[in-house]
């Protein structure tokens, strides 16, 4: 059973021959990539943003615009979903050949639901950040109080020991 050997290391290792004696003789590491790049044949982008539904060719059922009431929209999408499932059951009983249109609408509702949930993630990230910052501020304040208290104790003990030494 023939096994392939590992690929050789990249040829620019020779440039680092004198790294131990003179670190600045070797080339600097490449700067961070900006924009799009190709990795192992796949295209990736550094700007990770949730593509809007229109970009994916899906009709958006909930209203656009700022300050979306997520809870209300999620609930109304849920009700729509239930109604469409009932419609599908009816269609299967009465006009079975028209199932395709109903199934398309049901999958549209599911896509909208998932997209709405995904667009909540940035909000969650910011809320997590706020929580972490609050915890950190609290911990730092406690540390400051702790240090102040210990310093005062030290001062008192020094004064005390001075008093004792002067007494004898």
């Amino acid at each position: 059973m023939a096994t392939a050997t590992y690929p050789p290391p990249p040829p620019y290792y020779k440039l680092y021959k004198d790294y131990t004696t003179n670190p600045s003789s070797a080339p600097e590491p490449p700067p961070p990539i900006d924009g799009t790049y190709v990795c192992f044949g796949g295209h990736y982008t550094t700007d990770d943003v949730l593509p809007s539904l229109e970009d994916q060719g899906v009709r958006q059922l909930y209203p656009k615009g700022p300050n979306l009431d997520f809870k209300k929209e999620l609930r109304s999408l849920n009700r729509e979903l239930q109604l469409h499932l009932l419609e599908l059951a009816d269609v299967l009983v009465e006009r079975p050949s028209q199932y395709a249109r109903r199934i398309e609408e049901i999958s549209l509702i599911f896509k909208n639901l998932h997209h709405l949930l995904n667009s909540l993630r940035p909000h969650q990230a910011r809320a997590t950040l706020i929580h972490v910052l609050e915890l950190q501020i609290q911990r730092r304040k406690e540390a400051v109080e702790d240090i102040k208290r210990r310093r005062e104790e030290v001062q008192m003990q020094l004064k005390e020991s001075l008093r004792i030494l002067d007494g004898c």
């Binding site: 849920n78 949930l117 909540l120 993630r121 910052l133 730092r140």
Partner: protein
């Protein structure tokens, strides 16, 4: 699991209950008479019509339960209606607070280190004197 992942999980649950329901109905439904022109379909007693009706009820109850659970999860969303700008403002405030407290902490730390060094120096002087039995000046 965080609430948004639970919501996503619940959506997928609803989907799987729905297609399981329809699949079971399609597979197990007993034959039904479509028009008076066709003869009566052979009633197959081994099919257990009552079990089938029960199953249908259970499956539709599961579907409605899943949808209700989704609603209750949505109600549990901690979505303070601040919007993005309010959150960003709060983050900026917290960062300023954090910086101020950090500077205070740094100051205290430096003072405490200085005092520690002083005490250590004095202590070493005292011990030296004790070793050499010299009178403290």
């Amino acid at each position: 699991m965080d609430i948004i992942s639970q919501l996503q999980e619940q959506v997928n649950n609803i989907a799987s209950v729905a297609f399981n329901t329809f699949g079971t109905l399609q597979r197990d439904a007993p034959p039904v008479r479509l028009s008076p022109n066709y003869p009566e379909p052979p009633v197959n007693p081994a099919e257990d019509a009552s079990t089938f009706a029960e199953q249908t009820k259970l499956m539709s109850a599961a579907l409605v339960k899943a949808a209700k659970q989704f609603d209750s999860l949505v109600a549990a969303l901690p979505l303070a209606d601040g919007g993005e700008e309010a959150q960003l403002k709060r983050i900026a405030e917290l960062q300023a607070d954090n910086d101020a407290v950090g500077k205070e902490l740094q100051k205290q730390l430096e003072a405490a280190e200085k005092e520690l060094n002083q005490v250590q120096e004095l202590f070493s002087k005292v011990t030296d004197n004790q070793f050499n039995m010299k009178r403290p000046d």
